[in-house]
Structures are given as structure tokens and as C-alpha cells.
């Protein structure tokens, strides 16, 4: 394999370039990024950058070596799979022998055509624009009570702003399980956030300029600033002519992150098909890193590359809580064991047991090396061997 093109210049793309070099690829590597910026880290955007504690430049990743050609502001328009070329906006074709798809995802929007003023938070430019607006001390309504929405609300409260969060469901339950979600929600309320549950959804109000959010019961929450944090959409449209991804995505990969011969993918754009046939996304930092390593190995070595055994892991900081979670808490109703500290003190280590086996673990305001937390979340090695 001679020339490798990586489409997408965020963490997954950069890590893929690093991994290809580390695994011995000596041919040219070109990294194409749509945004005008060099590769950067997104996690601080909703936290330190939005709060103004860190300048936007602080998120830039250390630059790649000069043995990787990085082209920013290069938006891909299509893939000519049979010609082994990526087509850029403007028609330029970039040929490849191997392709890494790392185009990520974009924020979903709720605004109707013609409505102005909705803020999203995905990119560095989004964060800058939102931070500038927060300086005017607006009343804020955040639609979406997932990690991003709650982190934005938390940052707004640290700035002393009036904040309401709206969602169809109580915050974070699907992501953190009942007990931990309740703890975060209580901390949010203690910090002065209003939470509105509107089971049938919410709509943005305003003929031209958005001025509030209407709940299903007809009430309108007036707002000077509306932030939508209602999930993301994998960026697969440019692949539509290639047959690799169905419209609306995501791009489904096998356990070696392969899509087609000579094509692999990693990061927020993908969903991985597990051995049991289920397909799932884990759009988090650690997943992007491990997927990129597997994708690089599979591109160079094919079947000889080790398949990925995902170890879902992510973290969030909000309302004075620093939470790290390994594994997936089981469905509603299952109570975690508190192995250290206490939920009442908001400082604890939690472990979820399902069917007699540990399936997830979390630390809350409790410094614990991530490796140790992962061991709490995983079945004992003997059990793992029995499954494999």
C-alpha cells in the first residue's frame, strides 16, 4: 500500500496518521480537514474554552511531523471508489491506495428554514461564537440534556447566567443509569439550573430571530440565546455515491474498522458491528483513539490485524462533579454498589453488577486511575476467556 489519504483532521484522523507511521507505513500520508483550523481537541470546547478559562488556541493538538501532509480547508465532496480517488469541493481529485474515513459528525439542528440565532456547539468556531454571545449575559435555554447540553448549562451557571435545560427525558438517565443521573440532576438544580421535561418534544419559537422554546404543553420559555444540544449526525453524505453508507449513516464497520477493500474508518462517523450483529456508536475520545489504531493496522495488515474489543470509556465535568464512566450501566432500575465514598457526599466509586458480573463502573469526584476503574467495570479475566 503506497499512498494513504485520511479524510477528517480531528482526533481520529490525526491518531490514524500517527498509528500508520508507528506501524511501519512509509509511503505518503495526506490528511484532509474541512475546517480552516489545524487539528484540535473538542472536549474543552464546552468547558474551559466556553467559560473563558482557556484561550481557544489551547485546544490545538501538537502538530504532526512533516512526513504527513495536512491540508486544512479541504472539504470532500465525494468518493470515486472505482477510481481510488477522493473528490474535493471544486473538483480536484486526490488519489489514494488506502483510505481512512474519519469525517466525524456534525451537531443536529432544530431550527426551521429561515429561523436565525440557534447556537450549536461542535467546532472551535461554534465555541467562539457562543462564548462571544455569553458575554452579553443572555437568558439561556439549552435544548437537550445529554452530556453536551448539561456541560453547556454548567458553564453558563459558572458565568452567573440564567439557564433552563429542556429535554424529553430526565437528564442523562440513558447514559449514566438512574442513580448517577439523579445525582447529577440534583447538583444541576442546586447550582440554579431549571430543568423542564417535555415528553412530546420542544420547538424553537420565532418567525425570523429565535426568541424562545415552546414546550409540548404550550408554555413558551423566553430566551435571549437558545443552544441546541440534541445529538449529532455522522458526516457520510459525501459517500452517498459510493454505496458504502446508507443515507443518514452511520458508516458501519467490522471489528477491524474495515468498510471495503482498502477502506477503513474510525471516530464519530462509524458504528461498529459486534459479533452478535448489533451495531453501536461510541462517539468518545478514547474510542476514537482505539478505533484509529485498529483501522490503521487493518489497512496495512488486513485480517492479520487484531480486532477491536471496545472498552467504552468517557468522562464529563459539570456542576462541580467530575465523572468518569467505564462500560455501560444496565437499563433503568439497576442500582450500583457504592464501593467507596457515598452518593450523598457526591464523592464515590460505583460499580454496576448485572447477572452476577460487573458491567460498568464510575468514579465521582474521586481520583482513581482509569485502568483501575476499567478493571472494576470488566468481568474477571476467566469469565472473558470463557466468552471468547
Amino acid at each position: 500500500m503506497k499512498r494513504i489519504v485520511i479524510v477528517g483532521a480531528s482526533l481520529a484522523g490525526v491518531t490514524a496518521a500517527d498509528a500508520l507511521r508507528m506501524q511501519g507505513h512509509e509511503g505518503p500520508i495526506t490528511l484532509l480537514g474541512e475546517e480552516p483550523h489545524a487539528p484540535y481537541a473538542r472536549p474543552p470546547l464546552s468547558k474551559a474554552v466556553l467559560a473563558g478559562r482557556e484561550p481557544p488556541e489551547a485546544v490545538m493538538l501538537p502538530p504532526l511531523g512533516d512526513d504527513v501532509e495536512v491540508r486544512v480547508g479541504a472539504r470532500v465532496a465525494g468518493l470515486r471508489l472505482e477510481r481510488r480517488a477522493v473528490v474535493l469541493d471544486g473538483g480536484e481529485q486526490v488519489p489514494f491506495d488506502g483510505l481512512v474515513v474519519a469525517t466525524g459528525a456534525r451537531a443536529r439542528s432544530l431550527a426551521r428554514p429561515g429561523q436565525r440565532g440557534e447556537h450549536l456547539l461542535r467546532t472551535l468556531d461554534d465555541a467562539r461564537a457562543l462564548r462571544d454571545r455569553l458575554e452579553g449575559r443572555p437568558r439561556v435555554v439549552v435544548v437537550g440534556a445529554g452530556f453536551l447540553g448539561m456541560e453547556v448549562a454548567s458553564t453558563c451557571r459558572t458565568l452567573g447566567l440564567d439557564v433552563t435545560v429542556v429535554d424529553r427525558e430526565p437528564p442523562l438517565v440513558r447514559l449514566l443509569g438512574d442513580a448517577l443521573a439523579r445525582l447529577v440532576t440534583a447538583a444541576a438544580v442546586d447550582n440554579g439550573v431549571r430543568i423542564e421535561i417535555s415528553r412530546a418534544g420542544a420547538t424553537l419559537v420565532g418567525r425570523d430571530e429565535i426568541r424562545g422554546v415552546e414546550l409540548a404543553d404550550g408554555r413558551v420559555l423566553d430566551a435571549d440565546l437558545v443552544v441546541s444540544a440534541v445529538g449529532d449526525l455522522p458526516n457520510v453524505e459525501w459517500l452517498s455515491g459510493s454505496g458504502l453508507a446508507a443515507a443518514g449513516g452511520p458508516l458501519v464497520v467490522d471489528r477491524r474498522c474495515r468498510v471495503a477493500p482498502g477502506v477503513v474508518a474510525a471516530g464519530d462517523v462509524i458504528a461498529m458491528r459486534a459479533d452478535d450483529g448489533t451495531v453501536g456508536r461510541t462517539p468518545h475520545w478514547a474510542s476514537a483513539v482505539e478505533q484509529s489504531h485498529v483501522a490503521a493496522a487493518a489497512l496495512l495488515h488486513g485480517e492479520a490485524a487484531a480486532p477491536l474489543t471496545p472498552s467504552p470509556y468517557f468522562w464529563t465535568e459539570q456542576f462541580g462533579l467530575e465523572i468518569k464512566l467505564c462500560g455501560r450501566p444496565p437499563a433503568a432500575g439497576s442500582r450500583p454498589q457504592v464501593t467507596d465514598g457515598s452518593l450523598a457526599e457526591r464523592r464515590a466509586v460505583l460499580q454496576w453488577i448485572d447477572d452476577g458480573r460487573p458491567v460498568a463502573a464510575a468514579s465521582v469526584n474521586h481520583r482513581m486511575p482509569v485502568g483501575k476503574l476499567k478493571r472494576l467495570a470488566a468481568p474477571a479475566p476467566a469469565a472473558t476467556a470463557a466468552i471468547a
Binding site: 500517527d18 508507528m22 504532526l64 486511575p369 482509569v370 485502568g371 483501575k372
Partner: protein
């Protein structure tokens, strides 16, 4: 090249130990150990890779 760790920031994610096992390791408790802070030339890419993938930006390199 020298590599440095901001120990206040490090949380033992261990991604650096995967990227550059010659430089970084996790001990039995899962805490990071810096094996050598002077980076031999042949390990410079691995060191820079480790810096890029650290989730808490706890690592740095200086030439």
C-alpha cells in the same frame, strides 16, 4: 527531546503507555510512571504521538 508530565493533570488514562511503552508505563495501581524523560531520536514520533492522544493534555515534549 525531553518529555514532561503534568502530574496534577494526569489521571492514568494510559494512552501514552500504549503509544510509547518505552517511555511510559502504568504501575500495578494504574498510576503513570515516566520511564525516561530524555527521548532518544528513534522514539521521538512515539513521544509526540503520546502527547497528541492524551485526553487531559498532561504531556509535553521539548526539543
Amino acid at each position: 527531546m525531553r518529555v514532561s508530565v503534568d502530574w496534577q493533570r494526569c489521571e492514568g488514562h494510559g494512552m501514552c503507555a500504549n503509544a510509547a511503552p518505552e517511555l511510559f508505563a502504568l504501575d500495578d495501581e494504574g498510576e503513570l510512571r515516566l520511564l525516561q524523560d530524555v527521548v532518544p531520536e528513534e522514539l521521538s514520533r512515539r513521544a509526540e504521538t503520546a502527547v497528541r492522544m492524551c485526553p487531559v493534555a498532561a504531556l509535553g515534549v521539548e526539543r
